[in-house]
């Protein structure tokens, strides 16, 4: 028998601090597998966010840098400009990227920086205890909107992929999900494509990954993925929003 699947060498041996069933672990695996398969692990520098993935620097088996809240794109920009031969990616959640870091992500796309961003959208602030995020769905209950998010008070959830796809400097934008093995395979293809966009020097690339938060959603891991499928994917449609090759 031959091994067809095992833990990627792009990840360290450290056991993650993520809650049971948290899909951050799946997304970490995909990023690590892509870095290994593209043979760029040794020249990769990742930028970790503030949020649940704040300790990502302990989990990826490449050089990592921690950034202030929402500032990973600026830090990634600095690293890439000083060391243009390196592969640079940022790994950010929705509280980090879509809220306090929303200006950073728009500007990095406008400048067409040759870095790649993995944007993990689980519609809630995880680490701080389940507060409303810019991506929280209408009607979704969080600790800061206990009767559910109301449009008249908080507006509609922000659609980052659609917004960034309108920017010229962004060359590859896709939204994927990790709720099933089939979607996970698609997600990996999108991350590969985003990384190739940088390797070919085309410009900025981002993959938005629809993710779950069983703990703060108050659901079991399996229930959380069912909820994601029934509620998040209809509002955040999956697909490729921009691809430089198609232009």
């Amino acid at each position: 028998m031959s091994v067809v699947y095992q833990k990627s060498r792009g990840l360290t041996d450290v056991s993650t601090h993520y809650c049971p069933g948290c899909t951050h672990g799946i997304i970490h695996k995909l990023v690590a597998e892509c870095l290994v398969e593209l043979d760029i692990l040794e020249k990769s520098i990742g930028v970790a966010p503030v949020g649940c993935a704040v300790l990502a620097y302990d989990y990826f088996n490449c050089d990592m840098q921690e950034a202030a809240h929402g500032r990973a794109p600026a830090v990634g920009t600095g690293i890439k400009r000083v060391q243009p031969d390196k592969f640079v990616f940022t790994y950010q959640g929705d509280g980090d990227l879509a809220s306090i870091g929303s200006n950073e992500i728009v500007q990095v796309a406008h400048r067409g920086e040759k870095i790649s961003t993995i944007f993990v959208n689980n519609a809630i602030y995880g680490m701080t205890g389940g507060q409303m995020a810019p991506t929280t769905l209408i009607g979704q209950k969080t600790t800061t909107c206990q009767d559910g998010r109301k449009e008249e008070l908080a507006g509609k959830p922000i659609k980052i992929s659609e917004m960034l796809a309108t920017i010229d400097g962004a060359k590859y934008i896709a939204r994927v999900s990790v709720d099933s093995p089939a979607h996970i395979r698609q997600a990996k293809k999108a991350i590969m494509r985003a990384f190739q966009t940088q390797l070919e020097g085309k410009g900025f690339s981002l993959v938005e990954v629809i993710s779950s938060c069983p703990t703060n959603w108050g659901k079991s891991p399996v229930e959380a993925l069912n909820w994601l499928r029934d509620n998040m994917i209809p509002y955040y449609p999956l697909g490729v929003y921009k691809d430089w090759e198609a232009e």
């Binding site: 028998m1 699947y5 095992q6 056991s15 993520y18 951050h24 672990g25 069983p214």
Partner: protein
């Protein structure tokens, strides 16, 4: 003779049950009467003869706790 072989790393498994859900053969379960040193009920294969080595469980596992072999 089973076509595949699935091995769980007990120290990485957090018993989330996502692998149980995606196994097409329905041969993964959670060991409810056993607790790992980390305090979780781990997943295990109930009937290894039926494993096809499809690796769905391993692809789904957020903690990279599963290794799959196939003929």
């Amino acid at each position: 003779m089973a076509k595949g072989k699935t091995t769980f790393d007990e120290l990485l498994c957090k018993g989330c049950g996502l692998c149980v859900e995606v196994c097409p053969q329905k041969i993964i379960a959670i060991k409810k009467d056993y607790v790992t040193s980390k305090g979780y009920h781990p997943a295990y294969v109930t009937d290894s003869e039926k494993c096809t080595g499809c690796a769905n469980c391993a692809i789904m596992c957020p903690d990279s706790a599963i290794t799959v072999e196939r003929d």
